[in-house]
Amino acid sequence: MNVKEKKNLTMCIAALLITVVLLFPLYWMLVTSLKGEIEIFKVPPTFFPKVLNLDSYAAQLEHGDFNMFASFKNSFIISFCAMCISLILAIPAAYGIARFHFKGKKLAILTFLITQMLPVSVILTPMFIIFRDMNLLNHQLSAILADATIGIPFSVLILNGYFASIPKELEDAGRIDGCNRFSSFLLIFVPIAKPGVIVCAVFSFLYAWGDLAYGMTFIQDQRLRPITAGMFNFLGQYGTKWSYLTAFAVVTIIPVTLIFIFMQKYIISGLTSGAVKE
């Protein structure tokens, strides 16, 4: 073993240790969800469940009130619709900002930038009153409309960069082939900016998936609530039923983990291009 290999090995081991320590909470959550209530209270703790116990998951299928699979479906509907609204509005907006000159363009960019940084708390109370007046409380549309306000500014700013980097010659070529400004947008620009669109789809979905405040405040009906709100309720009622609670949490992060496995490249690009100037 030469010096370089030795160094590589120590670095690898150190990196592995760091990863294990930092990701331990997630492992611990998964393990706890697979333990029985008695084993959870055991001292010293067991780092691998002695008996694999799937009760915490199975019980959820029976209970009507805190059915986590039902709230999983609610979360999915809310996040998916919020994602669609974000994309439908943000893709053209980003294109307009990147490829056209018009009065008030800087103000439009500034609006998106500021709204991206806005705390949920500021619009929560007035939105509650607005949705109340519109009779939208207890309707998933309220959470969908509110969640889209997180995805839109993010997507506009990310896609703006993608659209701006497409060379003008392509647009000219399209025009010669008979594209007007709308068909060249749909047929030339959107396909080229596809990686950016995927980044935006992923983040709009994840933002909505992670939301607690909107879903919990606007939707009171347990059967319509998103999974984060369901989990919070469950915590309030069965605060020490840790096997159930961790099972709830594991189910909540399944889509996040799947998205992470298949979309890692897009996530990192979205995160970095959103914040650092090139």
């Binding site: 590589n8 670095m11 150190a14 990196a15 760091i18 990863t19 930092l22 909470p25 997630l26 611990w28 959550m29 706890t32 959870i40 010293p44 703790p45 509005l89 943000a90 907006a93 307009g96 900002i97 000159h101 018009f102 363009k105 800087k106 960019i109 930038l113 709204t115 940084m117 806005l118 705390p119 949920v120 708390s121 500021v122 619009i123 929560l124 109370t125 007035p126 939105m127 009153i129 889209a148 306000t149 500014p153 703006n160 960069g161 400004r181 947008f185 992670g210 607690l212 989990m231 915590l235 840790w242 609670l245 996040v256 890692q264 996530i267 995160l271 970095t272 914040a275 650092v276 100037k277």
Partner: protein, 312 residues
């Protein structure tokens, strides 16, 4: 009525001409902009109006609301919990920023080294940043719990402590737990942004510095830090904005307890509005949070978008 029809035609013609000549951009931007104005712009204004009225659970259905000026703000400034919340929000934000920046920076430097599995392992470390804060909050609430918490169990097994610590039951340790949890969430964000910054530094610079006799410390402070300046600025200011408005995490872990000692502005605003149904006071608290964040956002825009012009 007679003059109405030609006028409408005239207006429509004018609108068509407007979009035809060099204003096509509006057609693309307006839908999103209108959406944001309706669902964010209007609520911001109505939040301000709400904060100068007296709207509680008893008056919310009244057709007219009493205008009370800055009375809500005055009441709040005499409210001890609000003062604690402001202080907590700053302590929480600054402590989290320091820890997650230092650890994130160290990890960025470490994973920037060339060794097998560096990239995939660094990728895995992104997960804490992506999972919903409700889940992280619940997970750490479990880990910090007095009797079943793994943290107490490990500390007792290694004989650091004799009796279990009631982490979330005392103001100081509860705040510490919140900061530790949020730091865990923020580390990947800092790491990945700084990693990206590091890859832009040409390695020749370090080689040249080494030839000139610079040691590792010198090249770190003379090359790495100055060249990372814009990434560091972005990470710190964005980190401030993200941390300052954290809500879910505290709401799940302590909900401001014990006895209102760990409220942040966001959770206290929520409690006023939806726990005590003092909507106007909740709105005023949210406005205080908004004003502070707005100032920081402006600083951020000045730093990061300053010389970039229109292309963000």
């Amino acid at each position: 009525m007679r003059s109405f029809i030609p006028r409408t035609v005239y207006v429509i013609q004018k609108i068509r001409r407007f979009f035809r000549f060099g204003n096509t951009g509006y057609l693309f931007v307006l839908p999103a902009l209108l959406y944001m104005l309706a669902f964010v712009g209007y609520p911001i204004i109505s939040n301000f109006i709400l904060s100068v009225q007296d709207v509680t659970v008893t008056t919310i259905n009244a057709p007219t609301k009493d205008f009370v000026g800055f009375e809500n703000y005055r009441t709040l400034l005499e409210d001890e919990v609000l003062i604690t919340s402001i202080r907590n929000t700053f302590i929480f934000t600054i402590a989290c920023l320091i820890f997650q920046f230092l650890i994130g920076f160290a990890l960025a430097l470490f994973f920037n080294k060339d060794f097998p599995f560096a990239k995939p392992l660094r990728g895995l470390l992104m997960i804490p940043w992506m999972i919903p804060m409700t889940v992280s909050g619940l997970m750490f609430k479990f880990m910090f719990s007095t009797n079943v918490g793994i943290i107490n169990q490990l500390l007792q097994m290694s004989r650091v402590i004799e009796e279990p610590i009631e982490w979330l039951m005392h103001p100081g340790s509860a705040m510490f737990s919140l900061i530790a949890t949020n730091t865990w969430i923020g580390i990947p964000f800092n790491m990945i942004l700084l990693s990206t910054g590091l890859t832009t530094i040409p390695p020749e610079l370090y080689e040249a510095a080494a030839i000139d006799g610079a040691n590792k410390r010198q090249s770190f402070f003379k090359i790495t830090v100055p060249l990372l300046k814009s990434a560091i600025e972005a990470v710190l200011i964005l980190g401030f904005i993200y941390t300052f408005k954290v809500f879910d995490l505290v709401f799940v872990m302590t909900n401001g307890g014990p006895v209102n000692s760990t409220h942040l502005l966001s959770t206290y605003s929520y409690k006023l509005s939806f726990g005590l149904f003092k909507y106007s006071q909740g709105a005023a608290t949210a406005n205080i949070l908004f004003i502070i964040l707005f100032c920081v956002s402006i600083i951020y825009l000045k730093f990061v978008y300053n010389d970039k012009g229109t292309a963000a």
